[in-house]
């Protein structure tokens, strides 16, 4: 089974978020909690779908990631673009924050 994390969009502004350790949501994919087997994945998704999450997130789902020494990296083009922002507008989305802090 692929290594997975849970992602969703934040209710208030639709921004891409991930379920992190301890149950908080983060906009940094690197901080997402990794599920390494089916049981973990089901439990992770169940947490994201709990009734108390409905006022925070929309449409949580499991996504495949590459586990780079414990750091999850999105595997598909779609998830890479979701994680960064539009590839044609690098001034927008999470990639813009990274660029700003580096520059």
């Amino acid at each position: 089974m692929a290594t997975q994390i849970v992602t969703a969009n934040r209710l208030g502004d639709g921004l891409v978020i991930y379920l992190a350790q301890g149950g908080a949501w983060t906009d940094r994919v690197e901080d997402a909690e990794i599920a390494r087997d089916e049981g973990d994945a089901t439990a992770l998704l169940a947490r994201a779908e709990a009734p108390d999450q409905a006022t925070r997130v929309v449409g949580p789902y499991l996504m495949a990631v590459i586990d780079e020494a414990g750091v999850p990296r999105p595997a598909s083009n779609r998830e890479i673009i979701r994680a960064l922002g539009p590839s044609v507008r690098t001034d927008l989305g999470r990639q813009a924050l990274t660029r700003a802090s580096e520059g």
Binding site: G14, A54, T55, V58, N77, S87, V88, L92, G93
Partner: protein
Amino acid sequence: MYRYDEFDRTFVEERVEQFREQVARRLSGEIGEDEFRPLRLMNGLYLQLHAYMLRVAVPYGTLSSQQMRKLAHIARRYDQGYGHFTTRQNIQYNWVKLKEAPDILADLAEVEMHAIQTSGNCIRNVTADHFAGAAADEIEDPRIAAEVVRQWSSLHPEFSFLPRKFKVAVTGAPNDRAAVKVHDIGLQIVRDARGRTGFKVIVGGGLGRTPIIGATIREFLPKRHLLSYLEAILRVYNELGRRDNIYKARIKILVKDLGAEAFARKVEEEWSSLKDQAVDLPDGELRRIESYFAPPAFENLPAVTSGFEAKRFEDRDFARWAQRNVDAHRAPGYAIVTVSLKPEGGVPGDATAEQMEAVADLAAHYSFDEIRVSHEQNLVLPHVRQSDLYAVWQGLVAADLATANVGLISDIIACPGLDYCNLANTRSIPIAQRIGRRFAEIERQHDIGGLKLKISGCINACGHHHIGHIGLLGVDKKGEEFYQITLGGSADENAALGRILGPAFSAETVVDAVETIVDTYVDQRRAAEGFNDTLARIGLDPFKEKLYAPH
């Protein structure tokens, strides 16, 4: 009985307040997403990859300067300073916050705009020829019929629950700029032998998974019977259309399955019982709507303006722009200006708030306050005096809106694709940008001549790839972006679907492939022969040989 103006205003204002409450209830947790989703979609609010997207209707593509300024304001105040004009003459904002969406709708309502009928299985925003009311070849202004249909469809609750979404387009000219043959219903204004105007009715066209060119089911429908006839079509569709399978639910499948003739007979039968009931608009009401679209007070001008001609001599860049971006107007001494939203390497259809304001200012000064959005993702200043063309061009140059490429290979239609769209397989925009850069030299583009290239990021075909001379469809192959190429499509009065050339090309090789296709065409064409004519004469093989020959 028809009091649409008041009706519309009250209706829209009520909808905004209703939506404000619904959003508050969603944010507080009183209602969940399952309940809320259809409500937000009814108000044009989608959830895309990165954020909420609001799709705002621009009925039949017509905007005033004031409305355009409001769109700019919304881009700046609530979004990231830009908007995206779509192939359905709408505008989309990509970075909307849920709690601000009702404020945006309230702002829009101030200028009589809204986002209703931009989603769901209803009759969507009616589109029309973007040169409506201005084109030299126009028989009658198609926006009158478009407005009649818009009012009628927004009043009819039973048409809010059709088997699928339903798109209507209207053209008033024999040269079809509204792609009426690829809509659920296409209406073309025609004259009969006695010189009366009416509609040719085309049904069952569409793109997407099953692309079909619409069939003409009536050569001439007297104007006053428009609504009863449309109602007859929709009743037949509502009764027989398939609701069990989303892929088979569009009217095109029904027309195809029944056969156009049998479908037409059913419509005529239905219509015979409807046409003498009070379904059609009373004449007075029709005249009232017609009066909204009365032409502006054109001056009496000579057909050719010497100043304009002189400037064309003096300034090559202006001459090149005038050659591609200016079209003939029905009123002597006037011209239609197309404002290209396809700068080299830009995002097709995107405009910044400042650019929207620049266009609004130019429209206020030089185009009777009128702007149009074209389904080709450009803007139009429909009524410019020829003597003002140079000033308009200079204004556009200053706003970075004067690319002289309308109808050329870099005037690409591209859907948002995987950079924004939740349904996408692949990206579209970066391919458009790379093709634009590859053909950046404007002389080369002018030498190649008119060529329509269209790109979609998935089979839904929002980028109209089937009807491009060259069409690119993004397909995902094991996680890699590939592009299937079709050749020979057309969106005009000779509407045709492109034919698949062969195996798809990777993102790396597809721009080379496009260049090879263009070079082959230029090599093989006779005199000023257009792309599709050359293709019809020589077939696909010469293109295939160049593209797939072992190197």
